[in-house]
Amino acid sequence: MHAFEIDGVERKRGDYIIDIDVLPNRGPDCFSHIGIAGEVAAIFDLEFRKKEEEVKEGKDKSKDSLELKVNDKEGCHRYTARVVKGLKVGPTPKNIKEKLEILGLQSINNVVDLANYVMLETGQPLHAFDLDKVADQKIIVRRAKKGEKIDTLDDKTYQLDKNVLVIADPEGPLAIAGIKGGKKAEITRDTKNIVIESANFNSQLIRTASQRIGLRTDASWRFEHGLDLNLTESAVDRVASLISSVAGGETSGGRVDFYPQKPPKRRVKLNLEYVNSLLGVEISAKRIKEILEKLYFEIIEESKEELLVGVPSFRLDVYIPEDLVEEVGRIHGYENIKPKFPIASLVPPLTNFSVFWKKRTQDILKESGFSEVYTSSFVNQRDVDVFGYQEEELIETDNPISAEYQYLRPSLIPKLVKVLEENQKFFKNIRIFEVGKIFRKLSSRERKEKTALTGVVSGDVFYEVKGVMDLLLNEMGISDIWYDEYQPTPEDSKIAIWECKRCAEIKVGDDEIGFLGEINSQVLDSLGVEGRVVVFDFDFEMLEGEASEEHEYNPVSSYPEAVRDVAVLVPNDIFVEDVLNRISEAGGELVRDVDLFDIYEGEELPEGKKNLAFHIIYQAEDRTLSSQEIDKLQNKIIKVLEKEPDWEVRK
C-alpha cells in the first residue's frame, strides 16, 4: 500500500463512494477530491490535470463593495473574498445536489450548496454572506468580546469569549470563524448580493475554539488540520464561477485579499545515501528523483550526493529529509524492502534485576498455590473511606471518566479484597496476589510511585500464609527476618481495619519491609466478605534491595545427631520465639536446630499457662557428641530457662 487505507467501497445511485482513511498529517492536502486525485495519479503513474479557473468578471470591483479589516493576524493568516451581485437564490442543479447528498451533506440552496461542493472538491472551506445584511458592507476579523453571543444557522446560540475568532461587521458577530455561520447574514431566498469568504485560519485557534464551544463541522475539521495558503484564491475563483453560472449574477472584478505574509517556498536538502541507509535498500538516484517528481516535488538542484527539493505548498507535512524518505519509501513500496538482520555485538544485555526478582516472586507464589490477578490502578471514594486513607496522601485525577477512577491507588489491598469477595461465590479457598504500582502524595508537590507486592487469602490461615512468607523470603536470600508485634501509629489507629493482635510487621533488622495480618470482621462484614482474610503486603523495592542470589550453604555433618526434648510451662503471653531464642542461645553451636512440636493449653494446666514442647537437635560437625556432653548442654539450657521466674521446665 502506498498511501491510505480504504475502509470501504459502496455502490450508490450508479456511482461509487470510497471511504478513505486519510492519515491526519495528510489532511491539509487530502481531505478533498482533488487531493486524492493527485495521490492516485502519482501512485498509478497517471497524468493529473488541474483545471485552471477563468473567472468571468464584471465591471464592478470587489474592493468597492467590501471593506475588510483583519485585527487578529495571528488568528487569520489569509482572508480572500469575492463578491457576486444580482444573483437569484434557488434550488440546486440535480447533479450537484445528488453528489452532496451521497456525501452526507444536506442541500440548502444553490449558493450554500455550491460553497459546500467546492469545499469537498478542493478542501478549502467556503462561506457565503448576504452582502446587504453586512452592516456598512464591512467585514472585521477579530476575537470575540467577553459576553458576546451569536445565533447560528442551525438555530442555536453560542456564548463567545476572547478565545474564539469571529467574522463580524460593526454591529456584531456574523460567523464563528472557521466553524459556523450566523443567522444574521445568512443566504435566503431574497438574497441578491453575496460575499464569499475563502480564508486560512490558525489551526490551533480553531481547534481550541471548536472544543470550547463544543461544535465541530466539516469546515472546522479541515481548518484544524491546516490548509495550503495558496488554496484560498483558486477555491474562491472556482466557487464564484460556479455560482454565477448557476444562480446568475455577475462576479465583481478582483479579489479582496488580506495576505500579509506569504511564506517562502519550502526547500529540503536530501542526502541520497541517507535515503538508502534509513530504508535499508539500494534505490538509484534516478529512481529517487522519479518518485519525488511524480509526487509534485521539484528538483531544484542536484549533485552526486544530494538533491535540493522544492516542496509544493499543499504538502504541509513535509519539512525535513525524513519526510522525503517516507515519500520515497512508500512509493517504492515497503514490501520491496527485504528484511535484514542488524549486525550488532554479541554482548548480552544487562539483567534487569527488578524484572528478575519480580519473576522469582511471582513464580514462588504461583508454586505455593496463589493466582496472580491484575486490578485497576484506581480506587473510588468508598474504598478510601472503608480502608481509611487520608486525603492528604491521596493523588486525585483531574478528569476521571467516572467516580471509579477518582484516585490513584495508594495500596493494592482494597481491590484485592474486592476480588476475593467477588470470587467467594465460586471458590471456597482463595489465594491471590498482585505485584503492581501504588501512588501516594508525600506533600503538595511530592508524589511517589512505588511497587507493592500484596496478597490476600481467605480462611483462618495466618500460619499457613506465614509459612509462605518464610518460604518466599528464604528463596530470595533474605536472612535475618523477624516478625514484630504490630504497633499502630497514632494515624493508623484511625484506620481500624486490622485485627491488631493477629498482625505482624515483617522486619529485616530495624527496617519494616512488609506486613502480615488479618482484617477485622467488622470491615469484612461491611464489604460482604465471608470468613477470615489474611493479608500480606511488601514494599517491593525494599524487598529487592534485601534480596540476594547468594546462599550460604551449611556443610552437612557426617556425624550422628541426637535429639532431646524439653517441655516448658510458660505464661500465655510469652512468645514462642522468645523461648526458642533462649534455648538456641544457651545451647550454642552444638544445637543444630530447635523445633517446636507441641503447644498444650489444656484444663489440667495452671491458669494462664501453656506448655511448649521442643525437640532440641544436637550435632557437631567434627565428632560424635558423647552423652555427657549432651547432658551437660541440656542441663545448661534447663537452667537458663528456669532463670525466668514464671517459667517452669517439666520433668
Binding site: L23, E326, P342, V355, E449
Partner: protein, 350 residues
Amino acid sequence: MDKKKIRKIQKKAQKEIKASKNLTDLNNVFKSYLGKKGELSEVFRFLKELKGEEKKKVGQMANQVKNLIEEEIGKKSKKIRKTEKKKEKEEWFDITMPGKEPVSGHLHPLTQAMRKIMDIFKSMGFEIINGPQMESEWYNFDALNFPKDHPARDIQDTLFIQQSEKERAGPKQRLLMRTHTSPVQVRYMEQNQPPFRIIVPGRVFRHEATDARHEINFYQVEGLMVGKDVSVANFRAVFEEFFRRFFDKKVKIVLRPGYFPFTEPSFEIDCSCPICGGKGKCSTCSGTGWLEIMGAGMVHPNVLKAGGLNPKHWQGFAFGGGVDRLVMIKHKIDDIRLFYSSDLRFLNQF
C-alpha cells in the same frame, strides 16, 4: 508350672496361629504368648524360681516351644502375606477415578505473554527497561514531537493528575498517567549512548469508556533500537522474527504507511491472521485474513534531539503495541475486560 502346662500353652498358641486371618491377629497372638506380658514369657520368669534338673528340663522345653511358636508365626505370616498380595492383584482398582491434584497456582495470562515477549527480545540482545506510570506531559507528548494543540493529541485521550494552577504551569510539571510506553524511549536516551536495543513493557492509561475492546488501563510493549545505520530493513527482520516466535508459526508482515508524531517514516503493521493462516475464514480477523497489530517507524530526529542524541550521527527504529491485543488474538479471547475482572474462573485457565 509343669511340662503339661507348657504343652497346653503350645497347643493353644498353635490353634490361635492357625485361626489367624490377618497380620493384626497374628501380631496379637505373638503379643499374648511372647510379648512382655505373654504367657510363655511368664514361664521364663517363673524359671528363676526353679533349681537344678527341673530348671534345666523345663527351661529346655520352654525354649523349644518358644522356637516352635516363633517358627509357626513366621510361616503363617508369610502365608497371609502371600494371600493378601494375590487378593490385591484381583481386587478392583479404578484408574479412572480423579487423581488428587495438589493446589496449583496461576500466573496472569498477561504476565505469561509479557515474559514470552521479553524472552524473545532478550535473546535478540534487547535490554528490558521500565519507566514511571505517572508521567510528565513533557515526556509523554512534547519530547515525542506531539505539537501542542494538534489533532494528533486527540488520538489519545489522556488522564491528567490534579495539580494546583501554579504547579502545573511549571516547566515539564504537568502530570498525567502515561498514554503509551514511548516516554521511556526518551528517558533512556537521556541516560545512555547508542548503540542500544531496549524493550519496555508496561501499563498505560487511556481516558476511554470501557467496552469489549477498550479498558482504562492496559498493557503495551515498546521497542527501540538506535545505532549508526539501523534501517527499516533491520526492523522488518527483527519484527518478523518476534512474531514468528510469539505466535509459534510463520506469519507474513506487511508495512503500511502510517502516521505518528514520533516517527518518520511511520508504518502500521499488519500481520496475516495466525488463527486462520491468512485464509480469511475466521472471526478473529473478520474474514479479511489480516490483523492490524502494532505501530512502528524510524525515530523522528526531534525525538532523538529531545533525548540528547545527535540525529546526524544516529538513527533507529521504534515500535509499540498492545499486549492485551496480542494475547486476545493468540488465545481467541474476545473481551479485554476479562484480563482485569479478576474472575478466577477465567484466570485459572492459564
